[in-house]
């Protein structure tokens, strides 16, 4: 129980990795997080390559601190979201990382492939900003407060 408590406290202090190339969406997500009173630090990766770099760090350096949760868009430049997910799940150190796919796509195949590759959750970004804020709020509550993370 002790251990668990410390982990949960840890989760709230750890940063959130937002993988998103659209600056509007970045700002909207930040606004939504702010509105939802989620005060964790948010680091933003503009493409898949950058996201993997942040997660894996440079060679020869100390491995970077892991985020509490990764909010992953699918349609991003260079390495796309699903490939980033696959890379995360196949890398030993970070394979238990919480990854929430947060995307505009509601395509069935995207959803299925996302889960196949081991996404913890799939959330479609609503157009309605209020709904979006609500979604982000629920997301934060669930994944950062309720959920017991593995890493």
């Amino acid at each position: 129980m002790e251990y668990s408590k410390s982990r949960k406290a840890d989760t709230l202090k750890r940063h959130i990795l937002l993988v998103e190339d659209n600056p509007d969406d970045v700002d909207l997500t930040l606004m939504a997080l702010e509105k939802s009173n989620i005060l964790n630090e948010v680091r933003v990766a503009r493409d898949g390559e950058e996201a993997l770099q942040i997660l894996l760090g440079r060679e020869g350096e100390e491995p970077p601190e892991l985020p509490a949760v990764v909010l992953l868009d699918l349609n991003i430049p260079k390495v796309n979201g699903l490939e980033v997910l696959r890379e995360i799940r196949s890398t030993e150190r970070i394979r238990r990382l919480l990854v929430v796919i947060l995307t505009s796509s509601g395509e069935e195949q995207d959803i299925l492939r996302g889960y196949d590759l081991g996404a913890n959750s799939y959330i479609r970004k609503p157009v309605d900003f209020e709904k979006f804020v609500d979604a982000v709020k629920q997301l934060g509550l669930y994944w950062l407060v309720l959920n017991e993370p593995a890493v």
Binding site: D27, L28, L74, S104, S105, G106, P126, V127, D128, F132
Partner: protein, 639 residues
């Protein structure tokens, strides 16, 4: 010694006498034997042959053996011998002259008695024979007369002046004229057919000049029967023999019309068959026992491209086909000899000019008593064009298939493009919309004090518009997804699905008074996911358009309409004007204003597309302000 000599002499005399008698008797017995040998020994002769044999073989009855001359000769010989030897015999036996004279008188009486008896015997026999012959002759004469009169040919006797001195009664039956009428006709040429007059004249000429070599002259001519019809007759001119010499001629006329016309018909039919054989569009041929061609028709010669002379008696089938077909031909020959026929044999033949034709051969074999092949009859059909056409059809089919594959590939590519378009629509168009909405809200939130009431209203409208566009994009995407997804057939209970949907709707707006009636047979075969979307859209509409009613009523049921199970969804909502019925199922077409009833206008388009994909039909019936009914028909597909 003298006595002995006399006895010997006497003996010789007796032998001579017996010899003559014997000869006479032999003649008789010969004659009798001949009669006995006759197959019909009755006195009345029955067949014409027997009658004629009397004429042709007069010696058979040995008339010369017993004629008066013979009788006299026999008498003379016997008398001479008697006179010569009887006195000398008496002289030798009797010495006394008185006794001798007396005996000589007895001898004279004896001689007269014996010769009289002999004469009587001979004359009786002669007379009996004459009587017998006469009755025979009369019998035969009757027979000839009846044959002549009842016979089936006209018999005319032509005398030297070219007149008919006799005609039999058959002239009436055969030519239709009375005997006298015919004999006095005079101008006979007038009843002879124009084309046959030359032949008729030939007969007349021969009649004048006499018949050569005993050969009867025969001609076939058409004569006009008294009833006016032309008929074929055979005329035979022959000599009439009297007892001594040819005294006149006989003209025989026989009606051969039936035979001739039958022959003509036969000839015509033969010509027809010959024509058919030669001109039929099928090749006909006949092979001999050694498989050499013995007959061939024109069509097959055309097919082979060579002349009759080049093949008949010279070539066999093996010479006409391509070398590859030779082993098959050997096998087919065996089959033919075994079964007696072969059918639908395929061959490729080489024409004289080297080109090839594909043919089908059927043949039948004919054998003699020892089962040796006499000849075959075969027909050959040129299949080249058919095979070429089949080949073309096959090629066309292949190219068609190729085209179908190409088209399918194109279609698949277009579908993929559409999919990626839909993907980018879903992804890329929504992002800027979210931006518009989000930043408008942020503006409204954070800078509310800097905007007046109208500015805030505008911002609200920007948000609403972008949200609506988001809905439109979502609906459009779901419509395209319905079109693209694969159908998975299973049994679906639309009643259960409807109840579930209606319950959800009720939960969402618990204040509304809505009566449900879901009943009837609503089990169908189809894609469960799509059918649920279908019912969702229909019931959403029913729910939506009854919102103005105090007591709404929604019925889901099925009925037999036009002999097939049809489901229907009925409500008592606002309905629509049937005038706009056509626009009901068109995407984005709405019949009500957004203010009255919000919506994107994609629901019924989706419904129709789902029904269409299942091969079913949908139609709507409505009256404004009274409600509407949607009838659904889904064909029964086995799971």
């Amino acid at each position: 010694m003298g006595m002995q000599k006399a006895v010997i002499r006497q003996f010789r005399f007796l032998r001579v006498i017996t010899y003559f008698f014997k000869r006479q008797c032999n003649c008789d017995t010969d004659g009798l034997r001949l009669e006995r040998e006759n197959p019909a020994p009755q006195p009345v002769l029955k067949t014409p042959d027997q009658c004629l044999s009397f004429m042709w073989e007069p010696n058979k009855y040995r008339l010369t053996q017993l004629n008066p001359w013979n009788i006299v000769l026999i008498y003379l010989v016997l008398g001479f011998l008697w006179i010569l030897f009887s006195d000398r015999l008496l002289e030798q036996l009797i010495d006394d002259p008185a006794t001798l004279t007396q005996f000589q008188t007895y001898k004279g009486w004896f001689y007269v008695l014996v010769t009289s008896l002999l004469l009587l015997l001979l004359l009786m026999r002669y007379s009996a024979r004459i009587t017998h012959m006469r009755s025979d002759f009369l019998d035969r004469l009757d027979l000839y007369r009846s044959l002549l009169e009842q016979g089936n040919q006209v018999v005319l006797q032509v005398d030297d002046s070219q007149d008919f001195s006799y005609s039999n009664a058959a002239v009436k039956d055969i030519l239709g004229y009375d005997e006298d009428e015919f004999r006095c006709m005079g101008d006979y040429e007038s009843i002879v057919h124009q084309d046959d007059r030359d032949r008729f004249k030939d007969i007349r000429t021969v009649c004048d000049a006499g018949i050569r070599n005993n050969e009867p002259v025969k001609q076939q001519v058409r004569l006009r029967h008294k009833n006016g019809a032309w008929r074929w007759y055979q005329m035979i001119l022959t000599d009439k023999r009297g007892f001594e010499h040819i005294d006149s001629r006989l003209l025989l006329i026989r009606d051969i019309h039936e035979e001739t016309s039958m022959y003509e018909r036969l000839r015509e039919s033969q010509i027809r068959f010959e024509h058919l054989f030669q001109e039929a569009p099928v090749g006909y041929h006949s092979f001999g026992g050694d498989f050499t061609i013995i007959d061939i028709n024109k069509s097959e010669l055309n097919l082979l491209g060579c002349s009759r002379e080049a093949v008949v008696g010279k070539k066999t089938w093996a010479d006409l086909i391509v070398p590859d077909d030779l082993p098959t031909f050997e096998q087919h020959k065996k089959d033919l000899l075994e079964k007696g026929y072969v059918e639908n044999l395929q061959y490729t033949i080489v024409r004289e000019d080297g080109t090839r034709r594909s043919v089908i051969l059927n043949a039948r074999a004919f054998f003699d008593d020892q089962d040796r092949l006499l000849y075959t009859l075969g027909n050959v059909v040129d299949m080249t064009e058919q095979i070429r056409a089949q080949e073309e059809i096959r090629e066309l089919n292949i190219s068609l298939e190729k085209k179908v594959i190409e088209r399918t590939r194109d279609l698949e590519m277009a579908n993929r493009e559409l999919e990626s378009f839909a993907y980018s629509v879903s992804h890329d168009l929504r992002a800027p919309l979210r931006g518009i909405d989000g930043f408008s809200q942020a503006l409204a939130d954070k800078y509310a004090e800097k905007l007046d009431q109208r500015g805030l209203q505008y911002l609200d409208r920007v948000c609403k518009a972008s949200q609506r566009m988001g809905m439109l994009i979502d609906d459009l995407l779901s419509l395209s997804r319905i079109t693209r997804s694969e159908l998975e057939y299973e049994q679906v209970d639309l009643g259960a699905v409807s109840r579930e949907i209606l319950e959800t709707l009720k939960d969402r707006e618990p204040d509304r008074q809505v009566d449900f009636d879901v009943s009837g047979d609503l089990v169908v075969t189809g894609d469960a996911r799509l059918l649920r979307i279908l019912m969702q859209n229909l019931l959403d509409n029913a729910w939506k358009y009854t919102s103005t009613r105090d007591r709404a009523r929604i019925v889901v049921d099925s009925a037999e309409i036009d002999g097939r199970k049809t489901m229907f969804v009925r409500d008592n909502g606002v309905g629509f004007n049937m005038k706009y019925h056509d626009k009901l199922f068109v995407p984005f077409q709405r019949l009500h204003s957004q203010d009255d009833f919000p919506g994107t206008g994609i629901g019924l388009a989706t419904v129709q597309r789902i029904i269409g994909r299942h091969g079913g039909t949908i139609r709507a019936d409505s009256k404004e302000n009274e409600g509407s009914v949607f009838y659904l028909f889904l064909p029964d597909k086995s799971v």
